[in-house]
Symmetry: D2
Subunit: 256 residues, 4 copies
């Protein structure tokens, strides 16, 4: 598969994975390994980023994975910026998955505060990957302030509904000048494949891996789904038609 | 991936491919090879099944692939039965993909004539794989007369619309005592993955491979999509929910 | 609204209603009245069709409504034919909604037995309105044996899922020479409107009226939905587009 | 139908209509009349709001309709505010449909500039009805600054795609403290009915009326669709189920 490049850095895999909600850190580690991912995101509020023996972090091989801290739990720009800076101070690379979610119930992102935080963090030297609603105009604003990707949601976090925001994602992809990563709501490999077939550059998955009885097997399945979708996008999908076409010309063989 | 068993015979791949509408036999052969398929279907009216130098057949490695003749073009039971018998007389194995499509425009299958032909062919010793509308009651009737699979359509042939008959396919799978192969209408690897995630035993693809500029690449993509869907089905997909769940517990980290 | 004509008989309303599953006969009667329907279907096995004081029948004004007996519960052609003949013998008009549903769980129709019963009943002088899966080829067969309508399902009975069989219904409508009545699965007025916008001639609703706390209000809502869909179909719907068009030309008003 | 109340003012109709893109002002006027609407929106840049003989305005009966000026064409908050103030200065009531659409192609709304303009206009005494992406967090922000409604899009303007943003609209409705008006993308009465069934307080339609050969008939159809959806919402829709329920209990009538 062709490489994914974010902020000048290349990645072999187009599947990013999250680390929340797994039944155990062992199951999580097995899923990370099976996923083939290069980028793993961790909620800063869940770990002691400056303690080498933090149990969650100990299960992530940092030679293999880029640890992408996220600001999950931040309710406004100020909290998100503070979290990102703490991570950097603790020795993390200055990459951040920016999440600003004032609503604790649906965990939907705040367009205003996300843009505000993105602008501050970009100026502060961070490589910023913002989680957003599938809003093409907001996606443009974020790219204008210098984010390294945009990460529109397919459906609300944790719902497993798939690419429900298809029309908007298509416009975001069409207009994007940075990689588009579909994040949240993808509950099955077919959803990941669909996003990739549309031309998304990558997807991020968490809940779908964490809630299955066999996270490693599901992670491998998502890896294949992402590759399938990417390859199909590169090969070129056929148009959707209302009328069937015969799969073989009629020769009159039987009716001569 | 676990094996697919049809009529006592085991197959490593759960992707079947058709041979119609490719721009050239070379492109077709490349797609067959890349697909990893074990079963390849050929329209009997398109080939001289008893001539070893038929150009289409010469491009299919019969040591590697099970050649599954189909009765495409047959408008009623009588024509379908006649085609199947001609193939067997010419030395083909007695397996037949039964297609009875009186309407030359949408190529939709005839439930009455398909059941009639299936009954005759089963009694005649054939292993019968019937192409049908996604009709659970018809699927039951066919299984009762002894077909080796049922092959409900996802959407009309050649439309690339995907699994539009989802509700009915789910019921067919739930009630089936033979393998369910989703046939027709699958236009992208995500569609194939979706069918497999629902519990289909296999899928058959043709148009989606034939109409892309790069059939071999698309065939490999479908192979991955099928595997992704099967593995996800075996791992166990999470439920679809209306409400998001946080991907990590709140620790109050920031707000202490 | 333009009239609906079935077997030479005209009806002002394009909404048919069923009588099953209401909490009381009084609520049912209120729904029938509010629906504005002309055709009301009753399961023969539920009523004593030859007793003038049957409680269900006593709640249906037969001067106002055409009572359309249905063969719900019949598992094969023989049972359906027997039920239809009993109804006629008891003085019903020779109209029958033909339902043959061997599966007691999903109540899906049997294509083989339905066609068989239709042929017998048409020859026997009945006006036959068959309930079928959304199968265009079966719909053609039924029209060829002389049914007065075809009644494809939108979704399995009682599911409230709407017009899930949209692709097939569109083909049935395109090819039909008798009225197409979408039956089963319509759970909301928007579903009824959608079917009518596609060009269906009528719809039949039951569960959606029976399960709401206010059946009469819901029946009136469905009546409006049906009219809305029919009028829109006659006016001509706009095409679905991927690209927005401005709703007003740019004049440069602000930017001169 | 129960009344719609916006900013303390009551309206009998829950259908709002736009005035762009009609083939003639006469056809537009016929559609407005047939719609039964109380609120009609006009693009400020298209009219000479202070000239009593403006041709478009002359076709709108201002005793019957509340003229709702919109800021269509504004690319940022400043332009939108300026347009709104010009309208008020010309004698319009201080109601404004706020549209800020920097992208001339898809005409999608700008969340940042819309919130900025809303805040200014509310402080300035306007009753503000903002057109927005289906973004629940943005909808909350707008309500916090005092908008009189929120008007999330169902699909991009002019696409006729229907309620594609269903998941987000459901959340907006659930959390709203002001009326929710689904605006843009509704191409058929079934779409309008669907939005109302979900609990939307009103819908706004323009393209669907303007592009049909018979705008007045289509407007009447939308009026019925809106009423159907509202009444169904008030009656209470049945749940969507996977399993059919028999529409009548089995009595064993035939099988005794």
């Amino acid at each position: 598969m062709d490489k994914l490049t974010i902020a000048g850095r290349s990645f072999a895999s187009r599947l990013m994975v999250g680390t929340g909600k797994f039944a155990s850190n062992e199951l999580m580690a097995a899923a990370l390994n099976a996923s083939g991912s290069d980028i793993v995101t961790v909620a800063l509020r869940r770990v002691d980023i400056d303690k080498p023996d933090d149990d969650l972090l100990a299960h992530i091989d940092r030679d293999r994975f880029l640890l992408l801290p996220n600001t999950s739990g931040a309710r406004d720009a100020e909290e998100a910026v503070r979290l990102a800076r703490l991570a950097r101070a603790a020795g993390c690379e200055p990459w951040v998955k920016l999440e600003v979610t004032p609503d604790p119930y649906y965990l939907l992102p705040d367009p205003i505060e996300t843009l505000k935080a993105a602008e501050i963090l970009v100026k502060d030297g961070f490589t910023v990957l913002p989680y957003i609603n599938a809003d093409p105009v907001l996606a443009k604003h974020l790219q204008e302030v210098g984010t390294a990707t945009v990460m529109p949601l397919g459906a609300p976090i944790g719902t497993n509904k798939g690419v429900r925001t298809r029309d908007s994602i298509a416009i975001i992809i069409e207009q994007a000048i940075v990689p588009v990563v579909v994040d949240a709501g993808l509950g099955a490999p077919s959803h990941a494949a669909e996003a990739m077939e549309m031309g998304a550059d990558a997807v991020l998955v968490n809940t779908a891996l964490a809630v299955t009885p066999d996270p490693a097997r599901m992670a491998a399945a998502f890896a294949k789904g992402v590759e399938a979708g990417r390859e199909a996008y590169l090969a070129g999908l056929g148009a959707i038609k209302d009328q069937a076409e015969a799969s073989s010309p009629l020769t009159g063989f039987l009716r001569d």
